[in-house]
Subunit: 357 residues, 2 copies
């Protein structure tokens, strides 16, 4: 066979068998192979494991790819190799800045390893979650990352049965489906109570969203406060304002107003999100209450704006980027057939002390 460039017909519409299908009409591997004067499998090797092919062949195949504008069909590749190079992430909703950092880090880390992210929003309807789960498992992703999601028992079973590596994040459940990267919300709440106690605050209160995780932080906060002898020895006694999801600046304002009506003497508020905390600060401003002096405010999340509020917001920082990166690493390791050293990773949290408390 000569090595001169062939003027072969490009595109898989060329041949129609009697019962044949028409294909997509786009350039396929066989075209590239023909152009390069090699077999399809050799072209495939040149693209996927360049080391296993002679330098000359490699060069010719690459030239053929460039000339033809070939883009490999990853569905076909995935089907043949049962590796999709796809990772699915499930979140309750994407708007809500809390998990964004994690998703961003996850996307980037995965792209660096040649994986693509598929995003699913489960919303708050459970039936929808099940349909979504099937749509996701159906793509045979190499991994699934659950963020801020509590699955039904049925969902957990399907996930387990699928055999796909799963990473749960942002929480520290005792019995993960598979792998886990998170931290203890209860301990975080307790740490805030201890911090406020150390600051000399004794009349504590809470403005909180009513989701499960916020509930855990509240529990830790209330119990620690009781242990330390602050007001709130029992749950009932801790002034608490619940706000509906999503937590907003507006609910924070209402929250403080509500609390003050019944407890004008409170001297510290723990908010379940930075947005709520900013609302509390703004409401305090509007009422000429000196934040950081008469009233301590602590948020949760350390969103970008926390350092820039007036006064700057003391808050609990979670390293969402680290969560995303670790989750990506766990899945990539597993997908490569490796075993992970730790199936459960506690990334902890820290209290960022600023002027508001």
């Amino acid at each position: 066979m000569t090595r001169e460039s062939t003027t072969a017909k490009i595109g898989n519409t060329a041949y129609h068998g009697r019962r044949g299908r028409r294909g997509t009409g786009s350039v396929i591997l066989a075209d590239v192979a023909k152009l390069a004067g090699v077999a399809a499998i050799t072209a495939s090797r040149a693209l996927n494991s360049p080391d296993r092919v002679s330098p000359d062949t490699l060069k010719r195949v690459r030239a053929a790819v460039a000339r033809s504008g070939y883009v490999p069909n990853l569905m076909a590749g995935g089907l043949a190799s049962s590796k999709s190079r796809l990772v699915a992430a499930l979140v309750p909703t994407i708007s809500g800045p809390v998990f964004l950092e994690t998703i961003q880090a996850l996307t980037e880390a995965l792209e660096d390893s040649g994986y693509q992210l598929m995003l699913g929003q489960s919303g708050y309807i459970e039936s929808r979650e099940d349909a979504l789960l099937d749509a996701i498992i159906g793509r045979r992703p190499d991994g699934i990352v659950l963020t801020g999601i509590m699955h039904s028992a049925a969902g957990r079973r399907r996930l387990l049965a699928s055999g796909i590596p799963v990473v749960e994040t942002w929480d520290l459940t005792p019995t993960p489906i598979d792998m886990l990267v998170g931290f203890s919300h209860e301990r975080a709440g307790a740490a805030v109570a201890e911090f406020l106690h150390a600051c000399g605050r004794r009349k504590l209160a809470i403005v909180t969203g009513d989701d499960h995780r916020a509930g855990l932080r509240r529990k830790g906060f209330v119990e620690a406060a009781a242990r330390l002898g602050s007001r709130g020895a029992r749950n009932r006694e801790m002034p608490t304002c619940f706000t509906p999801a999503p937590t907003t600046l507006g609910s924070g304002r209402i929250g403080l107003a509500t609390l003050l009506r019944q407890h004008p003497d409170l001297d510290a508020v723990f908010c379940s999100s930075d947005a709520l905390a900013l609302g509390v600060i703004i409401e305090a401003h509007a009422r000429r209450i000196a934040v950081g002096k008469r009233l301590a405010v602590v948020g949760f999340g350390d969103l970008g704006f926390a350092r820039d509020t007036h006064p700057a917001l003391t808050t609990v920082r979670i390293d969402g980027t680290a969560i995303g990166q670790l989750a990506a690493r766990l899945i990539v390791t597993r997908a490569a057939g490796g075993a992970v050293a730790q199936r459960i990773i506690d990334i902890g949290f820290s209290i960022v002390e600023r002027a508001s408390a």
Copy 2:
């Protein structure tokens, strides 16, 4: 053939030909078909077009699916039908709340039509964008949504060559690759200038990020101000503070401080994002400048918190949800083989008048 349930071996590990491969070991359509006592294609029809199958067959296939826990392999289905039921969205970065609403609406609208969203972050490195494009085209998505992305000429060509429906969003470029859902940033900027002029403001200033779109709004703003005879008859004369991406509350504070140093008399500030505007408001608070009275502040985006600042923020509202929904509709229509009525959709904008201006 009897219709009694067969105790057939489930899982495609059953048969190993001499040169055979081992498969994935999971339940496949053939297993379901065997259980239901029908041919594979009939099982396929029962799942994909239930109307084209007898009620009895349908029932038996569904029972077999439930019993075996079968989840269709969408890679195989996609390969065979050349329909991936996948739509890719490209954003520069996911953190940055501006495009979130659009992505959320897009995800939801697509899920409702049985499509899945693949997310790609191009970041700010152009070489990366090209690699990402190949990874995306390689999955043969049924559509691609570009949000806040300016593609290189090479990228546009690849996209065009791929034949995949493309929707560009959040902008109104004169020569879209394919379809477009957006609005005119220049007209929005002009509208704000006209609004401030009507409010009696004459000493205008700008705090702005330095991205392309913000630049267009600034251009429209400056030109309209000149036309109306406000200060800023030429670009040079409009007091302007540029801030690096991403725009934050902190840069807003610095922005106002910087402007006031040189132009202590200014009476209105147009910010290129609500985050900047909130920063300006907070800085004004800290300086005891009455926002809404001595100083008018206008933001851009109408993020959730805009209604809850103190005073509430006047801002430009873009219906990001509508953008996402329309983009989804365009792509679903196209994927179904239909023709879209309008290839270019201008969704406009509105100025939400609140207390800050």
